[in-house]
């Protein structure tokens, strides 16, 4: 395949960026998208040009490190992570536009690499059960109905890639935040800190500068792990009932 890649290049967070087009040839349909990027980078290196920087690690769709806004969609045309996208999803002669995630809370560090530490700070605000190591009850002393465990699991599969923020017209992080709030709100282990967790995580989400949800559903439609919008509804419930009943002034 012969392709034209229109890629966002930006030297660092301080400098302005812009698009640069790169023709590329000899791409096989069996390559993954990131392997195609590897080929480009090998060529650029050969020519003495700075390779295109992008985040990636496990390349099996689970670590959440890869990103890229490809042809107007996060992670490209398929509902999967970029590392699992293969070139057979494109045709010979295509022009592929590759942009970084765009959000105030995800500043570009270089080229296609963005800083997603805002997600870490949202989790730090309360995305956990406060138990220390040791001194916990036997695992089977906490029975959990299978259905609830499965539903909590569905929420827990979020990989924190940020595609929801990238897809949302408001750059809202509500799908991400709600997935964790939901998981712990459903499980008995999460009950003790339930109210405080909802209040704190949402406060942190707002403080990071993410937008508000307008229920377009783009986040869930693009989520590579299929996290559902019901999590956002649950988060809203959790939040409203927390603010009216908690004793935090």
């Amino acid at each position: 395949m012969k392709l034209t890649l229109k890629i966002w290049r930006q030297k660092n967070s301080a400098e302005k960026g812009g698009f640069v087009s790169y023709p590329i040839d000899g791409i096989s349909k069996d390559m993954s998208f990131l392997e195609m990027m590897d080929v480009l980078n090998e060529e650029l290196t050969e020519k003495g040009e700075d390779p295109v920087h992008f985040d990636h690690d496990c390349r099996e769709g689970i670590c959440g490190m890869c990103s890229l806004y490809i042809n107007g969609k996060p992670h490209g045309p398929q509902q999967t992570t970029t590392c699992q996208l293969h070139m057979r999803s494109f045709s010979d002669g295509d022009t592929i536009t590759i942009e970084p995630w765009r959000a105030k809370s995800f500043p570009v560090l270089k080229d296609l690499v963005v800083d997603r530490s805002a997600f870490d700070r949202i989790i730090q605000a309360g995305g956990y059960v406060s138990v220390n190591t040791g001194g916990v009850p036997d695992a089977n002393e906490i029975p959990i109905p299978k259905k609830i465990a499965d539903e909590a699991f569905d929420a827990a599969t979020c990989i924190g890639c940020g595609a929801c923020v990238a897809a949302c017209k408001n750059a809202s992080a509500m799908l991400f935040t709600s997935a964790k709030i939901s998981q712990l709100a459903m499980l008995p282990q999460g009950q003790v800190e339930r109210k405080e967790r909802a209040e704190k995580m949402i406060a942190q989400m707002d403080a990071e500068g993410f937008g508000a949800c307008t229920n377009t559903g783009a986040c869930a439609a693009e989520c590579p792990k299929g996290i559902s919008l019901t999590n956002i509804a649950r988060m809203n419930r959790e939040f409203f009932s927390a603010v009216v009943s908690s004793d935090n002034l």
């Binding site: 806004y69 937008g211 508000a212 229920n215 377009t216 509804a233 419930r237």
Partner: protein, 226 residues
Amino acid sequence: MSWVTKTLSSTLGRKLVMALTGIFLILFLTGHVSGNLLLFKGDGGEAFNMYAKFMTTNPAVKLLSYLTYISVIGHVIYSIALTKLNKSARPVGYAESKASTNSAWSSRNMGILGTVILVFLAGHMYSFWFQMHWGGIPIVNYAGEEYKDLYSVVNVAFQQTWMVVLYVIAMVFLGFHLSHGFSSAFQTLGLNHKKYTPAIEAVGKFYCVVVPALFASMPLYIYFTS
């Protein structure tokens, strides 16, 4: 900041205001469209004019109407604030976006739809609501009691083609606004449930077609029958 203002200035609090005012306005529209059906009665406007008087004088309705004004103003102010916030969350946009593949057009353009509806609303209120309250309006007599003849104002207004076209177009916008707004409000309130959400969505789809269609049929009816 007290917990109330803190909550109402959070993203979720603002959404809550949007949803609650939105639902109230949906209820208002339901009442409004039901009452206006009297236009179809063919009694020369008697029932409609009596209804109009009731709506402008009854204290309970008055209270409701103040709530409606507040809802409209709240809905508008909070939408402006939210839009501003949402725009600032993405200072650099995408060069290419295929949002149409992941979300409905109306859901992404509630601001535009809402703005058009707001402009329409201003004109609509000037034409009828303002005239009813403070305008020079003919008086009619039913069974010895005086009534403002709002019906004749309506009748005159909808003789004009451009007015009718404008109203019908505005109702299309309202329909799209409602097509997202109806179920969205429930989602924001956290009312999402396997059993009820499909029903809410079905009612929403029905509502967003039927209510604007009924509203639009009124100018059309008057235009073609008189």
